[in-house]
């Protein structure tokens, strides 16, 4: 169904289409809400309010952005207000200026020092191949899940939208209201940490 068909169905009060939209977006909405509010319970409230906002606004929606972007903008506004009311400081630097706090993809001590006479910055201890047969094990997947849960919320939101939901970089940056570059920085840090968690896991278990 394209946007126009979904909008028409919502305006016609089609419950099936509404339920389907919720199924498609609930998980992502929750992840994004968690950038701004502290707990899952509050994030669920925010998602709930968002859908009510969607229903109340759909008759006036002009289609200047995609439906998805519009829904996420409603969510972001509600979540920001809610976060401020809770006295939570919105992590502007993390979301809008991620480069302000540098983070290395791989610990510096994995590399030879910059003053090394022959191979500055080359691997001191290089990555070893992972055991293929264990990659798809449930336990490995749990390691990935746990690593994502541990990420700072902006990184968690970006990797969830990009790599779990399979959104494009454009959809992701529109939903989050961040620049293309910042979207990529957040994705890079998130993926690097998940890779590191897997490496640690296989090194320990191996």
């Amino acid at each position: 169904m394209d946007d126009a068909a979904v909008i028409a169905a919502l305006r016609a009060r089609d419950e099936k289409v509404f339920a389907e939209l919720m199924r498609m977006y609930n998980a992502s909405l929750l992840r994004v809400a968690l950038i701004y509010v502290a707990t899952r319970a509050v994030a669920e409230d925010v998602v709930q309010e968002t859908w009510i906002g969607v229903l109340n606004g759909i008759d006036r929606f002009e289609g200047r952005s995609s439906l998805k972007t519009w829904i996420f903008r409603i969510l972001t506004n509600i979540a920001k207000t809610r976060g401020q009311r809770e006295g939570r400081t919105v992590p502007f630097s993390a979301l809008e200026r991620p480069e302000a706090v540098p983070e290395a993809a791989v610990d510096a001590d994995r590399f030879l020092p910059p003053d090394h006479p022959r191979w500055p910055g080359h691997w001191a201890s290089k990555p070893e191949p992972w055991p293929e047969e264990r990659l798809l094990a449930g336990e490995t997947r749990a390691v990935v899940e746990h690593a994502i849960e541990e990420l700072p919320p902006p990184q968690r939101a970006v990797i969830s939208l990009r790599d779990i939901e399979g959104w494009s970089s454009e959809e992701t940056r529109n939903a989050l209201g961040v620049s293309e570059t910042n979207q990529r920085v957040l994705l890079h840090r998130a993926r690097s940490k998940v890779r590191q968690a897997l490496e640690d896991y296989f090194a320990e278990a191996g």
């Binding site: 009510i52 990555p127 990659l135 939901e165």
Partner: protein, 85 residues
Amino acid sequence: MSVSIEQLSCQELVELVTDYLEGVLPAGERASFEHHIEGEGCKGCHEYVHQMRQTIELTGSLTPADVSPEAKAALLGAFRDWRAD
């Protein structure tokens, strides 16, 4: 900025992996990147890039978390109220 093949160290390369996979590396850096990891190039970085791809694939195999069934039921209730208005 163009980085010559000799200048791209492993420590620099790991910071460029996402730009590389996203297809946004400028041509010069892309050439250095590929030269570094391909053929008789650096085995460590070759493996690193492979692991990043494996990581992305594994993440993609996760099932998205969902909101609670109670929250969903409440929303369908809200939907019916809205429709009745």
